[in-house]
Symmetry: C2
Subunit: 102 residues, 2 copies
Protein backbone atom coordinates (compact mmCIF):
# COMPACT_ATOMS: atom_id res chain seq x y z
CA UNK A 1 0.00 0.00 0.00
CA UNK A 2 2.87 2.25 -0.61
CA UNK A 3 1.18 4.64 -3.02
CA UNK A 4 -1.79 5.33 -0.84
CA UNK A 5 -0.98 8.91 -0.03
CA UNK A 6 -0.41 9.77 -3.63
CA UNK A 7 -3.71 8.25 -4.57
CA UNK A 8 -5.58 10.02 -1.85
CA UNK A 9 -4.01 13.25 -2.91
CA UNK A 10 -4.87 12.49 -6.45
CA UNK A 11 -8.52 11.78 -5.92
CA UNK A 12 -9.06 14.28 -3.19
CA UNK A 13 -9.22 17.71 -4.63
CA UNK A 14 -9.63 17.29 -8.33
CA UNK A 15 -12.43 17.06 -10.78
CA UNK A 16 -12.89 13.52 -11.98
CA UNK A 17 -12.22 14.18 -15.60
CA UNK A 18 -8.85 15.73 -14.99
CA UNK A 19 -7.61 13.15 -12.54
CA UNK A 20 -4.58 10.99 -12.74
CA UNK A 21 -1.90 12.43 -14.87
CA UNK A 22 0.08 15.05 -13.05
CA UNK A 23 2.62 12.41 -12.22
CA UNK A 24 4.77 10.78 -14.80
CA UNK A 25 2.05 8.70 -16.34
CA UNK A 26 1.81 7.87 -19.98
CA UNK A 27 -1.47 8.53 -21.70
CA UNK A 28 -2.26 4.84 -21.53
CA UNK A 29 -1.51 4.56 -17.85
CA UNK A 30 -3.56 7.66 -17.15
CA UNK A 31 -6.49 6.23 -19.05
CA UNK A 32 -6.20 3.06 -17.02
CA UNK A 33 -6.24 4.99 -13.77
CA UNK A 34 -9.24 6.99 -14.86
CA UNK A 35 -11.10 3.84 -15.77
CA UNK A 36 -10.30 2.36 -12.39
CA UNK A 37 -11.57 5.54 -10.78
CA UNK A 38 -14.75 5.60 -12.80
CA UNK A 39 -15.51 1.98 -12.04
CA UNK A 40 -14.83 2.36 -8.34
CA UNK A 41 -17.20 5.29 -8.12
CA UNK A 42 -19.82 3.41 -10.05
CA UNK A 43 -19.40 0.47 -7.73
CA UNK A 44 -19.98 2.60 -4.68
CA UNK A 45 -23.02 4.25 -6.15
CA UNK A 46 -24.57 0.90 -7.09
CA UNK A 47 -23.87 -0.50 -3.65
CA UNK A 48 -25.30 2.43 -1.77
CA UNK A 49 -28.30 2.57 -4.05
CA UNK A 50 -29.00 -1.01 -2.98
CA UNK A 51 -28.42 -0.06 0.65
CA UNK A 52 -25.79 -2.69 1.17
CA UNK A 53 -22.82 -2.34 3.47
CA UNK A 54 -19.36 -3.18 2.24
CA UNK A 55 -19.63 -6.31 4.34
CA UNK A 56 -22.88 -7.32 2.65
CA UNK A 57 -21.40 -6.86 -0.78
CA UNK A 58 -18.32 -8.79 0.28
CA UNK A 59 -20.52 -11.74 1.12
CA UNK A 60 -22.20 -11.63 -2.28
CA UNK A 61 -18.80 -11.56 -3.93
CA UNK A 62 -17.33 -14.17 -1.58
CA UNK A 63 -14.70 -11.62 -0.75
CA UNK A 64 -13.99 -9.48 2.27
CA UNK A 65 -14.98 -6.05 3.53
CA UNK A 66 -11.47 -4.79 3.26
CA UNK A 67 -11.23 -5.68 -0.39
CA UNK A 68 -14.50 -3.95 -1.12
CA UNK A 69 -13.15 -0.88 0.62
CA UNK A 70 -10.06 -1.01 -1.52
CA UNK A 71 -12.14 -1.40 -4.66
CA UNK A 72 -14.10 1.71 -3.83
CA UNK A 73 -10.89 3.54 -3.05
CA UNK A 74 -9.53 2.59 -6.47
CA UNK A 75 -6.58 1.08 -4.66
CA UNK A 76 -3.78 0.21 -7.09
CA UNK A 77 -3.89 -3.38 -5.91
CA UNK A 78 -7.36 -4.00 -7.32
CA UNK A 79 -7.70 -4.99 -10.92
CA UNK A 80 -10.23 -3.79 -13.44
CA UNK A 81 -11.25 -7.42 -13.63
CA UNK A 82 -12.35 -7.45 -10.03
CA UNK A 83 -14.17 -4.14 -10.34
CA UNK A 84 -16.11 -5.31 -13.35
CA UNK A 85 -16.91 -8.67 -11.88
CA UNK A 86 -18.21 -6.93 -8.79
CA UNK A 87 -20.40 -4.60 -10.77
CA UNK A 88 -21.87 -7.51 -12.66
CA UNK A 89 -22.63 -9.27 -9.40
CA UNK A 90 -24.36 -6.13 -8.23
CA UNK A 91 -26.66 -6.42 -11.20
CA UNK A 92 -24.95 -4.07 -13.62
CA UNK A 93 -24.84 -5.04 -17.27
CA UNK A 94 -21.94 -4.69 -19.68
CA UNK A 95 -23.82 -1.68 -21.04
CA UNK A 96 -23.77 -0.07 -17.61
CA UNK A 97 -20.08 -0.73 -17.37
CA UNK A 98 -19.50 0.71 -20.79
CA UNK A 99 -21.35 3.83 -19.80
CA UNK A 100 -19.21 4.14 -16.70
CA UNK A 101 -15.89 4.05 -18.48
CA UNK A 102 -16.80 5.97 -21.62
Amino acid sequence: MKTTKRDKLKTAGWAVGSAADFLGLSAEEAALVEMRLALSQTLRSWRTKKRLTQGDLAKVLRSSQSRVAKMEAADPTVSLDLLMRSLLYLGATPKDIAKAIA
Copy 2:
Protein backbone atom coordinates in the same frame (compact mmCIF):
# COMPACT_ATOMS: atom_id res chain seq x y z
CA MET B 1 -4.72 -24.52 -20.79
CA LYS B 2 -7.11 -27.17 -19.77
CA THR B 3 -10.28 -25.53 -21.04
CA THR B 4 -8.96 -24.87 -24.50
CA LYS B 5 -11.14 -27.30 -26.36
CA ARG B 6 -14.26 -26.00 -24.75
CA ASP B 7 -13.29 -22.48 -25.68
CA LYS B 8 -12.53 -23.35 -29.22
CA LEU B 9 -15.81 -25.12 -29.47
CA LYS B 10 -17.52 -22.20 -27.92
CA THR B 11 -16.10 -19.58 -30.22
CA ALA B 12 -16.00 -21.73 -33.31
CA GLY B 13 -19.45 -22.24 -34.66
CA TRP B 14 -21.65 -19.72 -32.99
CA ALA B 15 -22.87 -16.24 -33.61
CA VAL B 16 -21.05 -13.80 -31.41
CA GLY B 17 -24.02 -12.44 -29.57
CA SER B 18 -25.24 -15.81 -28.39
CA ALA B 19 -21.90 -17.17 -27.34
CA ALA B 20 -20.76 -18.39 -24.03
CA ASP B 21 -23.55 -19.68 -21.89
CA PHE B 22 -24.55 -23.13 -23.00
CA LEU B 23 -22.42 -24.51 -20.23
CA GLY B 24 -23.20 -24.04 -16.60
CA LEU B 25 -22.32 -20.37 -16.46
CA SER B 26 -24.12 -17.87 -14.31
CA ALA B 27 -25.34 -14.72 -15.97
CA GLU B 28 -22.38 -12.84 -14.51
CA GLU B 29 -19.84 -15.35 -15.73
CA ALA B 30 -21.43 -15.38 -19.16
CA ALA B 31 -21.26 -11.61 -19.33
CA LEU B 32 -17.62 -11.75 -18.40
CA VAL B 33 -16.89 -14.27 -21.13
CA GLU B 34 -18.71 -12.19 -23.68
CA MET B 35 -16.78 -9.12 -22.70
CA ARG B 36 -13.53 -11.01 -23.05
CA LEU B 37 -14.65 -12.18 -26.46
CA ALA B 38 -15.67 -8.73 -27.57
CA LEU B 39 -12.40 -7.22 -26.44
CA SER B 40 -10.32 -9.90 -28.07
CA GLN B 41 -12.05 -9.37 -31.38
CA THR B 42 -11.64 -5.65 -31.08
CA LEU B 43 -7.97 -6.13 -30.34
CA ARG B 44 -7.48 -8.21 -33.45
CA SER B 45 -9.29 -5.76 -35.64
CA TRP B 46 -7.26 -2.83 -34.32
CA ARG B 47 -4.04 -4.72 -34.80
CA THR B 48 -4.80 -5.81 -38.33
CA LYS B 49 -6.04 -2.37 -39.23
CA LYS B 50 -2.61 -1.10 -38.25
CA ARG B 51 -0.97 -3.88 -40.22
CA LEU B 52 1.00 -5.15 -37.29
CA THR B 53 1.92 -8.75 -36.69
CA GLN B 54 1.32 -10.33 -33.32
CA GLY B 55 5.05 -10.11 -32.83
CA ASP B 56 5.07 -6.38 -33.54
CA LEU B 57 2.29 -5.76 -31.09
CA ALA B 58 4.04 -7.90 -28.53
CA LYS B 59 7.04 -5.63 -28.76
CA VAL B 60 4.91 -2.54 -28.21
CA LEU B 61 3.37 -4.19 -25.17
CA ARG B 62 6.68 -5.59 -23.95
CA SER B 63 5.05 -8.97 -24.04
CA SER B 64 5.37 -11.97 -26.30
CA GLN B 65 3.80 -13.21 -29.49
CA SER B 66 2.27 -16.16 -27.75
CA ARG B 67 0.49 -13.99 -25.25
CA VAL B 68 -0.89 -11.79 -28.00
CA ALA B 69 -2.18 -14.91 -29.70
CA LYS B 70 -3.87 -15.97 -26.49
CA MET B 71 -5.40 -12.54 -26.07
CA GLU B 72 -6.93 -12.71 -29.50
CA ALA B 73 -8.14 -16.22 -28.79
CA ALA B 74 -9.86 -14.98 -25.63
CA ASP B 75 -7.89 -17.59 -23.72
CA PRO B 76 -9.17 -17.96 -20.17
CA THR B 77 -5.72 -17.17 -18.87
CA VAL B 78 -5.79 -13.60 -20.11
CA SER B 79 -7.38 -10.98 -17.96
CA LEU B 80 -9.63 -8.16 -19.01
CA ASP B 81 -6.96 -5.92 -17.61
CA LEU B 82 -4.45 -7.10 -20.13
CA LEU B 83 -6.88 -6.84 -23.00
CA MET B 84 -7.78 -3.28 -22.12
CA ARG B 85 -4.23 -2.23 -21.55
CA SER B 86 -3.33 -3.66 -24.92
CA LEU B 87 -6.11 -1.82 -26.66
CA LEU B 88 -5.04 1.43 -25.08
CA TYR B 89 -1.48 0.85 -26.24
CA LEU B 90 -2.83 0.29 -29.72
CA GLY B 91 -4.31 3.75 -29.59
CA ALA B 92 -7.85 2.94 -28.56
CA THR B 93 -9.55 5.26 -26.10
CA PRO B 94 -11.77 4.32 -23.17
CA LYS B 95 -14.66 5.33 -25.39
CA ASP B 96 -13.59 2.78 -27.98
CA ILE B 97 -13.38 0.16 -25.28
CA ALA B 98 -16.79 1.09 -23.99
CA LYS B 99 -18.21 0.73 -27.44
CA ALA B 100 -16.64 -2.68 -27.76
CA ILE B 101 -18.16 -4.13 -24.62
CA ALA B 102 -21.53 -2.44 -24.71
